[in-house]
Symmetry: C2
Subunit: 214 residues, 2 copies
Protein backbone atom coordinates (compact mmCIF):
# COMPACT_ATOMS: atom_id res chain seq x y z
CA UNK A 1 0.00 0.00 0.00
CA UNK A 2 1.99 2.90 -1.32
CA UNK A 3 1.51 6.36 0.09
CA UNK A 4 4.32 7.79 -1.99
CA UNK A 5 2.00 9.61 -4.35
CA UNK A 6 0.36 12.98 -3.90
CA UNK A 7 -2.92 11.95 -5.39
CA UNK A 8 -5.91 12.24 -3.13
CA UNK A 9 -9.36 10.69 -3.19
CA UNK A 10 -12.51 11.07 -1.14
CA UNK A 11 -13.98 7.64 -0.37
CA UNK A 12 -17.67 7.34 0.49
CA UNK A 13 -17.50 4.84 3.31
CA UNK A 14 -20.49 3.30 5.08
CA UNK A 15 -18.62 0.67 7.04
CA UNK A 16 -20.24 -2.04 4.91
CA UNK A 17 -18.55 -4.77 2.92
CA UNK A 18 -18.72 -3.02 -0.46
CA UNK A 19 -17.36 0.36 0.56
CA UNK A 20 -14.66 -1.27 2.70
CA UNK A 21 -13.42 -3.11 -0.37
CA UNK A 22 -13.55 0.20 -2.29
CA UNK A 23 -11.53 1.94 0.42
CA UNK A 24 -8.83 -0.73 0.33
CA UNK A 25 -8.91 -0.66 -3.47
CA UNK A 26 -8.29 3.11 -3.45
CA UNK A 27 -5.42 2.82 -0.97
CA UNK A 28 -3.95 0.02 -3.09
CA UNK A 29 -4.13 2.32 -6.12
CA UNK A 30 -1.93 4.79 -4.27
CA UNK A 31 -4.59 7.31 -3.26
CA UNK A 32 -4.27 9.23 -0.03
CA UNK A 33 -7.81 8.76 1.14
CA UNK A 34 -10.24 10.96 3.02
CA UNK A 35 -13.10 8.96 4.44
CA UNK A 36 -16.57 10.51 4.12
CA UNK A 37 -19.47 8.94 6.03
CA UNK A 38 -23.03 10.01 6.72
CA UNK A 39 -25.38 9.89 9.63
CA UNK A 40 -28.68 10.46 7.85
CA UNK A 41 -30.94 8.81 10.37
CA UNK A 42 -30.45 5.27 9.05
CA UNK A 43 -31.76 2.52 11.31
CA UNK A 44 -28.43 0.76 11.05
CA UNK A 45 -26.48 3.63 12.57
CA UNK A 46 -24.39 0.83 14.00
CA UNK A 47 -22.48 0.84 10.70
CA UNK A 48 -20.74 4.00 11.90
CA UNK A 49 -19.01 1.89 14.56
CA UNK A 50 -17.52 -0.13 11.70
CA UNK A 51 -16.49 3.11 9.99
CA UNK A 52 -14.58 4.16 13.09
CA UNK A 53 -13.04 0.73 13.71
CA UNK A 54 -11.76 0.32 10.16
CA UNK A 55 -10.61 3.94 9.90
CA UNK A 56 -8.62 3.46 13.11
CA UNK A 57 -6.91 0.39 11.65
CA UNK A 58 -5.84 2.54 8.73
CA UNK A 59 -4.83 5.46 10.91
CA UNK A 60 -7.39 7.66 9.17
CA UNK A 61 -9.79 10.13 10.74
CA UNK A 62 -13.27 9.68 9.30
CA UNK A 63 -15.31 12.74 8.31
CA UNK A 64 -18.78 11.91 9.56
CA UNK A 65 -21.43 14.32 8.31
CA UNK A 66 -24.79 14.64 9.98
CA UNK A 67 -27.64 15.14 7.51
CA UNK A 68 -30.92 16.04 9.10
CA UNK A 69 -33.38 15.66 6.22
CA UNK A 70 -36.80 14.93 7.71
CA UNK A 71 -38.32 13.77 4.42
CA UNK A 72 -36.06 10.70 4.28
CA UNK A 73 -38.55 9.03 6.60
CA UNK A 74 -40.39 7.92 3.48
CA UNK A 75 -37.82 5.11 3.40
CA UNK A 76 -38.11 1.98 5.54
CA UNK A 77 -34.33 2.26 5.97
CA UNK A 78 -34.89 5.43 8.01
CA UNK A 79 -38.37 5.44 9.54
CA UNK A 80 -38.40 3.25 12.63
CA UNK A 81 -42.16 2.75 12.24
CA UNK A 82 -41.76 1.15 8.80
CA UNK A 83 -40.87 -2.56 8.59
CA UNK A 84 -37.91 -3.64 6.50
CA UNK A 85 -38.79 -6.00 3.64
CA UNK A 86 -37.69 -9.61 4.22
CA UNK A 87 -35.14 -10.75 1.62
CA UNK A 88 -37.53 -10.09 -1.23
CA UNK A 89 -34.81 -9.09 -3.63
CA UNK A 90 -31.83 -11.27 -2.92
CA UNK A 91 -32.15 -13.28 -6.10
CA UNK A 92 -29.85 -12.01 -8.80
CA UNK A 93 -31.65 -10.82 -11.87
CA UNK A 94 -35.09 -10.91 -10.29
CA UNK A 95 -37.09 -7.96 -11.59
CA UNK A 96 -39.12 -6.33 -8.89
CA UNK A 97 -40.18 -2.80 -8.17
CA UNK A 98 -37.93 -0.47 -6.24
CA UNK A 99 -37.82 -1.65 -2.60
CA UNK A 100 -39.11 0.35 0.35
CA UNK A 101 -35.53 0.67 1.59
CA UNK A 102 -34.78 3.05 -1.29
CA UNK A 103 -33.71 6.42 0.15
CA UNK A 104 -34.67 9.15 -2.36
CA UNK A 105 -31.64 10.38 -4.29
CA UNK A 106 -29.31 9.20 -1.55
CA UNK A 107 -26.39 8.30 -3.77
CA UNK A 108 -26.83 11.51 -5.76
CA UNK A 109 -26.65 13.56 -2.56
CA UNK A 110 -23.74 11.62 -1.11
CA UNK A 111 -21.77 11.77 -4.35
CA UNK A 112 -22.45 15.51 -4.69
CA UNK A 113 -21.23 16.22 -1.18
CA UNK A 114 -18.18 14.04 -1.82
CA UNK A 115 -17.46 16.04 -5.00
CA UNK A 116 -17.63 19.25 -2.97
CA UNK A 117 -15.15 17.82 -0.46
CA UNK A 118 -12.89 16.61 -3.26
CA UNK A 119 -12.88 20.00 -4.99
CA UNK A 120 -12.11 21.77 -1.73
CA UNK A 121 -9.05 19.67 -0.89
CA UNK A 122 -7.83 19.21 -4.45
CA UNK A 123 -8.63 15.50 -4.61
CA UNK A 124 -8.74 14.13 -8.12
CA UNK A 125 -11.41 11.51 -7.50
CA UNK A 126 -14.29 10.31 -5.41
CA UNK A 127 -14.63 6.57 -4.87
CA UNK A 128 -17.91 4.87 -4.12
CA UNK A 129 -19.27 1.36 -3.97
CA UNK A 130 -22.56 0.95 -5.85
CA UNK A 131 -23.05 -2.43 -7.41
CA UNK A 132 -25.28 -3.33 -10.31
CA UNK A 133 -25.26 -7.14 -10.60
CA UNK A 134 -26.37 -7.95 -7.10
CA UNK A 135 -28.20 -4.69 -6.73
CA UNK A 136 -31.56 -4.51 -5.02
CA UNK A 137 -33.38 -2.50 -7.65
CA UNK A 138 -31.99 0.87 -6.66
CA UNK A 139 -31.86 3.18 -9.68
CA UNK A 140 -28.87 5.02 -8.22
CA UNK A 141 -26.72 1.90 -8.45
CA UNK A 142 -26.72 1.80 -12.25
CA UNK A 143 -23.56 2.52 -14.24
CA UNK A 144 -25.50 4.89 -16.54
CA UNK A 145 -26.33 7.11 -13.59
CA UNK A 146 -22.66 7.51 -12.71
CA UNK A 147 -21.73 8.15 -16.34
CA UNK A 148 -24.24 11.01 -16.51
CA UNK A 149 -23.27 12.33 -13.11
CA UNK A 150 -19.62 12.44 -14.21
CA UNK A 151 -20.64 14.62 -17.14
CA UNK A 152 -22.62 16.95 -14.86
CA UNK A 153 -19.66 17.24 -12.51
CA UNK A 154 -17.35 18.01 -15.43
CA UNK A 155 -19.65 20.89 -16.42
CA UNK A 156 -20.45 22.22 -12.97
CA UNK A 157 -17.16 22.15 -11.08
CA UNK A 158 -14.04 24.23 -11.05
CA UNK A 159 -11.71 21.24 -10.85
CA UNK A 160 -11.83 17.91 -12.61
CA UNK A 161 -13.15 15.27 -10.20
CA UNK A 162 -13.39 11.66 -11.40
CA UNK A 163 -16.15 9.41 -10.11
CA UNK A 164 -14.73 5.93 -9.54
CA UNK A 165 -17.01 2.95 -8.90
CA UNK A 166 -14.53 0.04 -8.79
CA UNK A 167 -16.95 -2.75 -7.84
CA UNK A 168 -20.00 -1.67 -9.83
CA UNK A 169 -19.93 -4.68 -12.14
CA UNK A 170 -18.62 -7.33 -9.71
CA UNK A 171 -20.74 -10.08 -8.18
CA UNK A 172 -20.92 -10.27 -4.40
CA UNK A 173 -18.54 -13.23 -4.39
CA UNK A 174 -16.07 -11.35 -6.57
CA UNK A 175 -16.27 -8.44 -4.12
CA UNK A 176 -15.47 -10.78 -1.22
CA UNK A 177 -12.56 -12.26 -3.19
CA UNK A 178 -11.21 -8.80 -4.02
CA UNK A 179 -11.54 -7.80 -0.37
CA UNK A 180 -9.54 -10.83 0.73
CA UNK A 181 -6.88 -10.14 -1.89
CA UNK A 182 -6.56 -6.55 -0.64
CA UNK A 183 -6.51 -7.74 2.99
CA UNK A 184 -9.61 -5.70 3.79
CA UNK A 185 -10.96 -6.50 7.26
CA UNK A 186 -14.26 -7.89 6.00
CA UNK A 187 -14.95 -9.27 9.48
CA UNK A 188 -15.22 -5.71 10.80
CA UNK A 189 -17.78 -4.59 8.22
CA UNK A 190 -21.49 -4.17 8.82
CA UNK A 191 -24.15 -4.84 6.22
CA UNK A 192 -27.43 -5.47 8.05
CA UNK A 193 -30.17 -2.89 7.48
CA UNK A 194 -31.92 -3.57 10.79
CA UNK A 195 -30.93 -1.63 13.88
CA UNK A 196 -29.95 -4.64 16.01
CA UNK A 197 -26.73 -5.55 17.80
CA UNK A 198 -26.33 -8.66 15.63
CA UNK A 199 -27.13 -8.96 11.89
CA UNK A 200 -30.77 -10.03 11.40
CA UNK A 201 -29.92 -12.53 8.65
CA UNK A 202 -33.21 -11.75 6.93
CA UNK A 203 -32.96 -8.36 5.20
CA UNK A 204 -31.78 -7.99 1.59
CA UNK A 205 -28.40 -6.78 2.69
CA UNK A 206 -27.81 -9.77 5.00
CA UNK A 207 -28.97 -12.20 2.29
CA UNK A 208 -26.72 -10.67 -0.35
CA UNK A 209 -23.77 -10.69 2.01
CA UNK A 210 -24.42 -14.34 2.87
CA UNK A 211 -24.49 -15.19 -0.86
CA UNK A 212 -21.15 -13.48 -1.34
CA UNK A 213 -19.44 -15.42 1.40
CA UNK A 214 -20.88 -18.75 0.21
Amino acid sequence: MSKLTNKKAVVLFSGGLDSTVCLYWAINKGYNCEILSFDYGQKHKREILSVKKIAKKLNLKPNIIKLNLPWLKVSSLVDKCKKLPISARAEIGKKLSIPSTYVPARNLMFASIAVSFAESIGAEAIVLGPNVLDYSGYPDCRPKFYEQLSKAVAQGCERKVKILTPIIKLSKSEIVKLGKKLKAPVEDTWSCYAGGIKPCGKCDSCKLREKGFE
Copy 2:
Protein backbone atom coordinates in the same frame (compact mmCIF):
# COMPACT_ATOMS: atom_id res chain seq x y z
CA MET B 1 -51.83 32.86 -8.51
CA SER B 2 -53.74 29.64 -8.84
CA LYS B 3 -53.42 26.90 -6.26
CA LEU B 4 -56.05 24.76 -7.91
CA THR B 5 -53.58 22.24 -9.27
CA ASN B 6 -52.04 19.27 -7.50
CA LYS B 7 -48.62 19.77 -8.96
CA LYS B 8 -45.86 20.35 -6.48
CA ALA B 9 -42.39 21.83 -6.78
CA VAL B 10 -39.45 22.26 -4.44
CA VAL B 11 -38.00 25.76 -4.80
CA LEU B 12 -34.41 26.43 -3.78
CA PHE B 13 -34.79 29.74 -2.06
CA SER B 14 -31.95 31.85 -0.69
CA GLY B 15 -33.95 34.99 0.04
CA GLY B 16 -32.08 36.78 -2.76
CA LEU B 17 -33.54 38.60 -5.72
CA ASP B 18 -33.09 35.76 -8.23
CA SER B 19 -34.60 32.96 -6.20
CA THR B 20 -37.44 35.20 -5.05
CA VAL B 21 -38.38 35.81 -8.67
CA CYS B 22 -38.12 32.03 -9.26
CA LEU B 23 -40.42 31.33 -6.32
CA TYR B 24 -43.05 33.76 -7.61
CA TRP B 25 -42.62 32.34 -11.09
CA ALA B 26 -43.30 28.81 -9.78
CA ILE B 27 -46.39 29.93 -7.85
CA ASN B 28 -47.59 31.76 -10.94
CA LYS B 29 -47.18 28.54 -12.95
CA GLY B 30 -49.58 26.85 -10.54
CA TYR B 31 -47.10 24.89 -8.47
CA ASN B 32 -47.74 24.24 -4.81
CA CYS B 33 -44.30 25.17 -3.57
CA GLU B 34 -42.10 23.80 -0.83
CA ILE B 35 -39.34 26.23 0.06
CA LEU B 36 -35.88 24.72 0.63
CA SER B 37 -33.13 26.90 2.10
CA PHE B 38 -29.67 26.21 3.44
CA ASP B 39 -27.60 27.40 6.32
CA TYR B 40 -24.16 26.28 5.15
CA GLY B 41 -22.09 28.74 7.13
CA GLN B 42 -22.43 31.57 4.60
CA LYS B 43 -21.27 34.96 5.84
CA HIS B 44 -24.53 36.47 4.68
CA LYS B 45 -26.66 34.30 6.93
CA ARG B 46 -28.82 37.39 7.10
CA GLU B 47 -30.41 36.19 3.86
CA ILE B 48 -32.30 33.63 5.93
CA LEU B 49 -34.24 36.52 7.50
CA SER B 50 -35.43 37.37 3.99
CA VAL B 51 -36.36 33.72 3.46
CA LYS B 52 -38.56 33.80 6.55
CA LYS B 53 -40.08 37.20 5.76
CA ILE B 54 -41.03 36.30 2.20
CA ALA B 55 -42.22 32.80 3.15
CA LYS B 56 -44.49 34.36 5.77
CA LYS B 57 -46.00 36.69 3.17
CA LEU B 58 -46.85 33.63 1.11
CA ASN B 59 -48.10 31.65 4.10
CA LEU B 60 -45.43 29.02 3.47
CA LYS B 61 -43.21 27.31 6.04
CA PRO B 62 -39.61 27.28 4.83
CA ASN B 63 -37.56 24.09 5.19
CA ILE B 64 -34.19 25.37 6.38
CA ILE B 65 -31.49 22.71 6.31
CA LYS B 66 -28.28 23.07 8.26
CA LEU B 67 -25.24 21.77 6.41
CA ASN B 68 -22.13 21.55 8.49
CA LEU B 69 -19.42 20.91 5.91
CA PRO B 70 -16.14 22.18 7.34
CA TRP B 71 -14.31 22.12 4.01
CA LEU B 72 -16.50 24.92 2.59
CA LYS B 73 -14.20 27.34 4.38
CA VAL B 74 -12.05 27.29 1.24
CA SER B 75 -14.57 29.85 -0.05
CA SER B 76 -14.42 33.53 0.87
CA LEU B 77 -18.21 33.36 1.02
CA VAL B 78 -17.90 31.14 4.09
CA ASP B 79 -14.56 31.73 5.83
CA LYS B 80 -14.77 34.86 7.93
CA CYS B 81 -10.98 35.27 7.73
CA LYS B 82 -11.05 35.53 3.93
CA LYS B 83 -11.87 38.88 2.36
CA LEU B 84 -14.60 39.14 -0.25
CA PRO B 85 -13.43 40.34 -3.66
CA ILE B 86 -14.50 43.89 -4.51
CA SER B 87 -16.79 43.97 -7.52
CA ALA B 88 -14.17 42.40 -9.77
CA ARG B 89 -16.68 40.59 -11.87
CA ALA B 90 -19.68 42.82 -12.25
CA GLU B 91 -19.07 43.56 -15.89
CA ILE B 92 -21.15 41.39 -18.16
CA GLY B 93 -19.10 39.19 -20.40
CA LYS B 94 -15.80 39.90 -18.70
CA LYS B 95 -13.75 36.73 -18.71
CA LEU B 96 -11.97 36.20 -15.43
CA SER B 97 -11.03 33.17 -13.40
CA ILE B 98 -13.50 31.65 -10.99
CA PRO B 99 -13.92 34.04 -8.02
CA SER B 100 -12.92 33.23 -4.46
CA THR B 101 -16.61 33.32 -3.51
CA TYR B 102 -17.14 30.06 -5.42
CA VAL B 103 -18.39 27.41 -2.98
CA PRO B 104 -17.25 24.00 -4.26
CA ALA B 105 -20.10 22.10 -5.90
CA ARG B 106 -22.66 24.14 -3.97
CA ASN B 107 -25.36 24.14 -6.61
CA LEU B 108 -24.78 20.44 -7.31
CA MET B 109 -25.29 19.65 -3.62
CA PHE B 110 -28.28 21.94 -3.21
CA ALA B 111 -29.97 20.62 -6.35
CA SER B 112 -29.32 17.01 -5.28
CA ILE B 113 -30.85 17.57 -1.86
CA ALA B 114 -33.80 19.31 -3.51
CA VAL B 115 -34.27 16.32 -5.83
CA SER B 116 -34.34 14.03 -2.79
CA PHE B 117 -37.00 16.23 -1.19
CA ALA B 118 -38.99 16.33 -4.43
CA GLU B 119 -38.89 12.55 -4.84
CA SER B 120 -39.98 12.05 -1.24
CA ILE B 121 -43.06 14.25 -1.48
CA GLY B 122 -43.96 13.39 -5.06
CA ALA B 123 -43.07 16.81 -6.46
CA GLU B 124 -42.62 16.88 -10.20
CA ALA B 125 -39.97 19.58 -10.32
CA ILE B 126 -37.29 21.49 -8.53
CA VAL B 127 -36.92 25.18 -9.31
CA LEU B 128 -33.71 27.09 -8.92
CA GLY B 129 -32.30 30.44 -9.88
CA PRO B 130 -28.85 30.20 -11.48
CA ASN B 131 -28.16 32.83 -14.08
CA VAL B 132 -25.66 32.68 -16.90
CA LEU B 133 -25.61 36.12 -18.54
CA ASP B 134 -24.80 38.16 -15.47
CA TYR B 135 -23.08 35.24 -13.81
CA SER B 136 -19.91 35.73 -11.83
CA GLY B 137 -17.87 32.97 -13.43
CA TYR B 138 -19.39 30.14 -11.43
CA PRO B 139 -19.28 26.91 -13.45
CA ASP B 140 -22.42 25.66 -11.70
CA CYS B 141 -24.49 28.47 -13.21
CA ARG B 142 -24.14 27.24 -16.78
CA PRO B 143 -27.13 25.78 -18.67
CA LYS B 144 -25.02 22.80 -19.79
CA PHE B 145 -24.49 21.79 -16.19
CA TYR B 146 -28.24 21.66 -15.56
CA GLU B 147 -28.84 19.75 -18.80
CA GLN B 148 -26.37 17.07 -17.73
CA LEU B 149 -27.67 17.01 -14.17
CA SER B 150 -31.21 16.47 -15.49
CA LYS B 151 -29.97 13.40 -17.35
CA ALA B 152 -28.24 12.07 -14.24
CA VAL B 153 -31.41 12.59 -12.20
CA ALA B 154 -33.46 10.78 -14.86
CA GLN B 155 -31.12 7.78 -14.55
CA GLY B 156 -30.66 7.75 -10.80
CA CYS B 157 -34.09 8.44 -9.37
CA GLU B 158 -37.25 6.46 -8.89
CA ARG B 159 -39.54 9.29 -9.97
CA LYS B 160 -39.19 11.79 -12.75
CA VAL B 161 -38.06 15.13 -11.34
CA LYS B 162 -37.66 18.07 -13.71
CA ILE B 163 -34.99 20.69 -13.05
CA LEU B 164 -36.40 24.12 -13.87
CA THR B 165 -34.14 27.17 -14.13
CA PRO B 166 -36.56 29.90 -15.29
CA ILE B 167 -34.18 32.88 -15.16
CA ILE B 168 -30.99 31.20 -16.36
CA LYS B 169 -30.80 33.22 -19.58
CA LEU B 170 -32.27 36.53 -18.38
CA SER B 171 -30.25 39.66 -17.72
CA LYS B 172 -30.43 41.19 -14.27
CA SER B 173 -32.74 43.93 -15.51
CA GLU B 174 -35.03 41.34 -17.12
CA ILE B 175 -35.11 39.51 -13.78
CA VAL B 176 -36.12 42.71 -11.99
CA LYS B 177 -38.81 43.35 -14.61
CA LEU B 178 -40.15 39.80 -14.28
CA GLY B 179 -40.15 40.16 -10.50
CA LYS B 180 -42.21 43.36 -10.73
CA LYS B 181 -44.62 41.74 -13.17
CA LEU B 182 -45.11 38.82 -10.76
CA LYS B 183 -45.47 41.22 -7.82
CA ALA B 184 -42.48 39.64 -6.06
CA PRO B 185 -41.46 41.64 -2.98
CA VAL B 186 -38.04 42.55 -4.35
CA GLU B 187 -37.64 45.08 -1.56
CA ASP B 188 -37.55 42.22 0.97
CA THR B 189 -34.79 40.30 -0.80
CA TRP B 190 -31.17 40.18 0.25
CA SER B 191 -28.26 39.94 -2.19
CA CYS B 192 -25.15 41.22 -0.41
CA TYR B 193 -22.40 38.65 0.23
CA ALA B 194 -20.95 40.49 3.23
CA GLY B 195 -22.25 39.78 6.69
CA GLY B 196 -23.35 43.31 7.54
CA ILE B 197 -26.70 44.74 8.57
CA LYS B 198 -26.86 46.89 5.41
CA PRO B 199 -25.73 45.85 1.90
CA CYS B 200 -22.04 46.74 1.40
CA GLY B 201 -22.59 48.07 -2.12
CA LYS B 202 -19.16 46.77 -3.15
CA CYS B 203 -19.33 43.00 -3.57
CA ASP B 204 -20.18 41.35 -6.90
CA SER B 205 -23.66 40.57 -5.76
CA CYS B 206 -24.42 44.17 -4.73
CA LYS B 207 -22.97 45.50 -8.00
CA LEU B 208 -25.01 43.09 -10.11
CA ARG B 209 -28.15 43.91 -8.18
CA GLU B 210 -27.52 47.63 -8.64
CA LYS B 211 -27.11 47.12 -12.39
CA GLY B 212 -30.41 45.26 -12.53
CA PHE B 213 -32.32 48.05 -10.83
CA GLU B 214 -30.72 50.76 -12.98
